[in-house]
């Protein structure tokens, strides 16, 4: 594997960015990842988080970790696909 510049998009804070712009920005960041890289994205809690997560799943990216912050949630996303649903 070639050298990657991980610092480029390590942590993206989308608190205060409203729906659907937050999801669009998140997907743009994820699309720039290389295989094996992940990015940590912070969203406000609530309906806009649910929409953003749905949108990340629908775009075919894989959330690998999620943690609760104060009134916000961080998700770590990589390039693998989410599971097919019956």
């Amino acid at each position: 594997m070639q050298e990657q510049d991980h610092s480029r998009i390590e942590n993206i804070d989308l608190r205060g960015v409203s729906c659907p712009v937050n999801a669009t920005m998140a997907k743009k960041a994820i699309s720039q990842l290389h295989e094996g890289e992940t990015v940590r994205i912070i969203f406000d809690s609530g309906e806009s988080l649910i929409r953003a997560v749905r949108s990340i799943n629908d775009a075919g990216y894989r959330i690998v970790k999620s943690e609760q912050l104060d009134n916000a949630v961080a998700v770590i996303v990589g390039k693998g696909k989410p599971a097919e649903r019956p």
């Binding site: 609530g46 690998v64 999620s66 949630v73 989410p82 599971a83």
Partner: protein
């Protein structure tokens, strides 16, 4: 309908209400589950033009009302509407038009096909006499667009999530996205051979599909799928949020049995002008539920 003194109670029964303006009436039309065809809409527009003031009023419960119809024209207007299959709604102490959201037929979040159910409720109960007004709503999922718990009877699409350890990557997403904070990660095995498991607080869970649709590995699977039944909701002067009768009812037959039992219980126990929810509060929710389940031959959750 041209005699001088119109029977107001009889008019209310067929969805016609006196206006502030003497001799003018509101015609409330029925739209089961909020559905009207294009030809029906065209006819409503024609009638509003011909007998009203060329406009309609949309009610909060999916009704279309034609205002400013003179009493001498009520019958002609009603006939014109009936020719296009537009029926009158209901007012007064009886079962009102059944409301519904679009449901799973077109809504991506839908769990329940709301329209057939609302048509069946309409066929069974519309206009039937009750102690007070009686509203039925069907809503396709926990987003609750039709506000099931503001109605005397509310039916809401529901699923019961089931955790499958083999699929779970322990990412924690379900804990952070559950809108009710109902999912927790617990130490110890739940019988599926892991040293942790994810569990749901049943009392808090609203049986939505957020965990089952967002888990990246589909580790939250849809277990049971069915209906949550609410009783005794009302807004109006003395609001009361509905009580859950049963969280998951899988079979439609059981839904109909529980609704029938609820309605017959209210008919026997409700005082005149007392809404279903207030009867429940007067008698006691637990007693009411026990009696309804006994009547329906069904078991509580």
């Amino acid at each position: 309908m041209s005699e001088k003194t119109l029977d107001q109670a009889a008019l209310k029964k067929i969805g016609m209400m006196r206006q502030v303006q003497p001799d003018y009436y509101v015609m409330r039309l029925k739209a089961v589950g909020g559905e009207l065809t294009a030809p029906q809409l065209a006819r409503i527009a024609e009638v509003a033009e011909k007998y009203g003031r060329g406009q309609v009023h949309l009610s909060t419960r999916q009704g279309v009302e034609i205002h400013y119809v003179h009493k001498d024209n009520l019958e002609a207007a009603r006939n014109d509407l009936a020719d296009a299959g537009v029926e009158m709604g209901a007012c007064g102490p009886r079962v009102r038009s059944v409301v519904a959201c679009p449901g799973s037929e077109t809504c991506r979040l839908g769990v329940l096909d709301t329209k057939p159910l609302s048509r069946e409720f309409d066929a069974r109960y519309f206009k039937q006499e009750m102690p007070s007004k009686f509203k039925i709503a069907v809503t396709g999922c926990s987003s609750n667009c039709t506000k099931a718990n503001e109605n005397d009877i509310g039916v809401r699409g529901a699923i019961d999530p089931r955790w499958e350890a083999d699929e779970c990557t322990d990412c924690g997403l379900c804990v952070t996205v559950c809108p009710l904070g109902a999912i927790g990660r617990r130490d110890g095995d739940d019988g599926q051979g892991r040293d942790y498991h994810y569990a749901i607080d049943e009392a808090a869970c609203i049986n939505c599909t957020i965990c089952t649709s967002l888990c990246p590995t589909a580790a939250w699977a849809v277990g049971r799928r069915g209906h949550t039944i609410f009783i005794g909701g009302t807004m109006g002067r003395k609001p009361r949020f509905a009580s859950v009768l049963k969280k998951i009812v899988e079979s439609e037959d059981e839904v109909y049995a529980l609704v029938e039992a609820s309605i017959s219980w209210y008919r026997e126990n409700g005082l005149k002008k007392e809404r279903f929810g207030h009867t429940i509060d007067r008698v006691g929710l637990e007693k009411c539920k026990e009696e309804i389940f006994a009547r329906a031959g069904s078991q509580q959750d």
